[in-house]
Symmetry: C2
Subunit: 540 residues, 2 copies
């Protein structure tokens, strides 16, 4: 097959599509079609073997070989211009909307999450460098990262610290030539070493001499595997690979920086700000990973449910000439498929809404509209990350359940989707960290302005749509959200200790038992919303 999208959009179309507002529906539609082809025909065929074969580490050369097929698929991904989709025009990017990038991300993550992570992390490095790097650094690195000729990494975690980055020990000592000597060990570095490209560009958090032992003493450095001018090998070596439950085709590296040459990105001791440029972008991408895997799980379980014949429908045979009916006729199977479908639709709507706000925050001509859009992006980033990965994982698990025993075997793709997706609830800040970001930071930011912006949008919708279906339920949910927000803003004091069993009991009765009222309303709302989906509408 031929990936024609590059010729369509990378030259004249790209210069036309300066930002979100310029991308026409036809162009968007063509890009999405081509992304679908790429995902189905180039990326997906590498997925199962990537899991089975995994990555190979050579301790003598410190080199990593990716699974068979990855290099060729990545080459096509690069040739198609996909690494450049929403990257800045001045460095060879196509400048298309971020929203469109989200759509493509979902497809890539659906079809091979491990492979998608190499360009995924690169994208974050591009953004950090573009936002915070000097002109010289941008000129040296951006074009090759945008084109996909090189990839990028994000080197944060160390053995003694993940969440608590104030504790990092990697040191940066100034050299005479304005560069720094980077010394230290980083772990869990995605794409830290691989054979997809000739060079790898590491963005590394480290401490300058005398910097305080807090997050205010961290600086960001760019450390290439090979120095761009001399071609010399920089002593930034992979020391081994992690053995993981999933995403086995993604090289998760221990990286040893042994006096490697690096250059400061942004201001000294201001590395957390640059890091968050990468991190916020990565969090949105991880949300799309959760959705992508859930969507693939839905498609696979739906297909299985239509094929597998077992037992008869309660309302009489639906496949009278066969030995049994397809299991999609059974209420419990439909319940599972409905839950997958509805939550996937809702997650996608939330993600694309957020992507659209991201585009508006950059490209809207009105300043206050840009600010409002930015409020929403900041508020919703932890929600997209946590909600799409928690419910994405649940949906992948539900998909496996639809297949029954088959789903537990490696003959079907579901168990890999479940394993691959498990990490998304953890990396780029666990979902508990996302909750802290939302409640501890975003709700009080600018005196509560972010959440007020959201309520204004929701109220506007309710006011403007007096006949909308389920308007009253939405209003009720919004009321509950307002109450919860209010409660979180005012807080509550401590109470004295109780005996451990009483604490257990209270936790249960306060936190878990009230689920019963939800379950009750689920039960008495009956089966119609499960059973009424038309046969042709499962993929709609």
């Amino acid at each position: 097959m031929t990936i024609v999208v590059s010729s369509d959009i990378s030259s004249d179309s790209a210069s036309r599509a300066k930002h979100a507002a310029d991308a026409t529906p036809d162009l968007i539609s063509a890009v999405i079609d081509e992304a679908g082809k790429l995902a189905a025909e180039v990326i997906q065929p590498t997925n199962q073997n990537g899991d089975r074969e995994g990555c190979h580490y050579n301790p003598d050369t410190h080199e990593v070989k990716t699974p068979e097929g990855f290099k060729e698929a990545y080459k096509k991904f690069v040739e198609g211009g996909w690494t450049a989709l929403d990257a800045p025009l001045e460095f060879g990017g196509q400048g298309l909307p971020h929203t469109l990038k989200f759509v493509v991300d979902e497809m890539v993550c659906s079809t091979n999450l491990s492979l998608g992570m190499y360009p995924g992390l690169t994208h974050g490095a591009i953004s950090a460098l573009h936002a915070h790097g000097s002109n010289e650094l941008k000129q040296t690195y951006l074009e090759k990262l945008v084109s996909g000729e090189w990839t990028g990494t994000m080197c944060l975690t160390e053995p003694q610290c993940g969440t608590d980055l104030g504790m990092i020990r990697t040191r940066a000592t100034p050299n005479d030539d304005g560069s720094y000597a980077i010394e230290g060990t980083k772990i869990w570095i995605t794409g830290g070493e691989h054979d997809l490209t000739d060079n790898i560009v590491h963005l590394v958090l480290a401490k300058l001499p005398g910097a305080p032992n807090t997050t205010k003493g961290i600086s960001l450095f760019i450390v290439p595997k090979f120095l761009s001018e001399s071609g010399e090998r920089n002593p930034a070596f992979c020391g081994g690979l992690e053995h993981k439950m999933g995403i086995k085709g993604s090289a998760t590296c221990v990286m040893n920086f042994e006096g490697a040459k690096g250059w400061l990105v942004g201001e000294a001791n201001d590395g957390m700000r640059s890091m968050f440029t990468m991190m916020n972008e990565a969090r949105l991408m991880v949300g799309m990973q959760g959705l992508g895997l859930a969507e693939m799980a839905y498609q696979e379980s739906l297909a299985f449910a239509k094929e597998r014949l077992q037992s008869r429908s309660l309302s009489g045979p639906k496949n009278p000439n066969g030995p049994a009916d397809p299991i999609i006729v059974h209420p419990d199977v439909r319940r599972m498929l409905m839950r997958q479908k509805v939550l996937n639709e809702g997650m996608r709507a939330l993600a694309l809404f957020t992507g659209h706000q991201l585009d508006l925050s950059v490209a809207h001509p009105d300043e206050s509209a840009r600010a409002s859009a930015d409020d929403l992006v900041q508020l919703l980033t932890p929600v997209v990350k946590a909600f799409l990965t928690d419910e994405g994982a649940n949906n992948a698990n539900t998909g496996l359940q639809v297949l029954g025993g088959s789903g537990f075997t490696t003959d079907w793709p579901l168990e890999q989707l479940v394993r691959d997706g498990r990490i998304a609830r953890i990396y780029e800040g666990t979902n508990g960290i996302q909750a802290m970001d939302l409640v501890g930071r975003k709700l009080s930011l600018k005196g509560g302005q972010l959440v007020r912006t959201l309520f204004r949008v929701l109220s506007g919708y309710l006011k403007g749509n007096p006949e909308a279906p389920h308007r009253e339920e939405l209003k009720g949910a919004m009321g509950a959200l307002e109450k919860a927000t209010m409660w979180l803003a005012t807080g509550e004091g401590n109470k004295p200790l109780l005996e451990s069993k009483l604490v257990s009991a209270r936790f249960y009765f306060e936190k878990l038992l009230p689920e019963i009222h939800w379950l009750l309303s689920d039960i008495v709302s009956g089966k119609d919303s499960m059973m009424d989906m038309g046969d042709d509408h499962w993929a709609a």
Copy 2:
């Protein structure tokens, strides 16, 4: 180490402990202590290698080799008398309470689910044979199954049918000597072939000539690997192993019966009844698997949370001399640990209550008390299976989340617990099938008597404990349960089809959105029930 339990209880104690009422607290306590030692010192050390090595199939000999260490651990399990714990006295069993067996099951499943499945399935075969087999069959097989010298299997599923057993194709043709020639292929047969014992006894569902093509045309046969008199190899061969997401040390076999000699167990065409003797027992055991894995996940994540230093407590340093506080001080980590702990406690209480009812249903001197206990066992069996495996899987996943990125690596046991536990929601009837059994069968059985018995027990508790903590919440929950039961008993009619998006929306608003009221009450009930657990009480 020495397993002393056998000498303690297998001879004089066992003959003393005829049934539940005879087991003294001291005896129970000694058995539990010894089971704990066995689990920790003999079984657990085989767990990780069992997962990594898996089982080996030799296509030339049709033989299966279990992972290294399994054979020795199984030998100690047998020598300790553990296969005989609650088995009938007259065939060498110890006749101890089923409740005690549940406690031991939890420990075995906690420490190596794969290994535990070989004797676990044997136990079901013993029960079916004891309840339905002829005296001759019992004399031939029971003693060796009870002693663990032989193991048993349950051969139900075929490629074209799992849930829908009416569709089985395996045939039983009468031989001249009163035996039958069994011909057909069974799949997903746990322990169908292995090297732990010299003989394996298969209990096989098959159809007699002319039997109807429904579940009313199924008979149960006993088919030994080696014929007990002649020692001749019976043509019941393993045709291969499944490749699975987890429980890799458990040999999941394709079994080809090529005219193998079998004997009828129970009446012709009444095989489903015998099968359900095994199945109901297996369902309770699978519930304990879910709990066992969840308990191990809790212990592992709790230990990690006490060791791992990261960030400071919001209320000031708790480990001022260290570089950071242990993560157990953080509210979100405590929330996860509390959820694990509380649900594990609740699941264990439900399981042991059910086990106790099982003992009462056999051993209580009063006939109506036996009947009431049996009502509760029947009603609660699908609840124990589904609730303990769903929430067990959730708890194992929560445990992984506590470890963050470490939990996703194979350096820690959490990811194996999650993978191993995933099957428990599926086998011995998926949890959707359990829901059907509860709602479609158990609620209406004997005109609704089973659930009325449960309400009587709950009302009795409320009446007898006017000062019980959380009495009002429990009353409210019971009211919701009564309403739901009533609604399920009366049902509701169909409504016309709607457009697919409207169906999606309705499903969401009816089934999923009401969760928000639960979440709201979770939020406004505050943090005390998470934060008040005393440091010494996490294991209490």
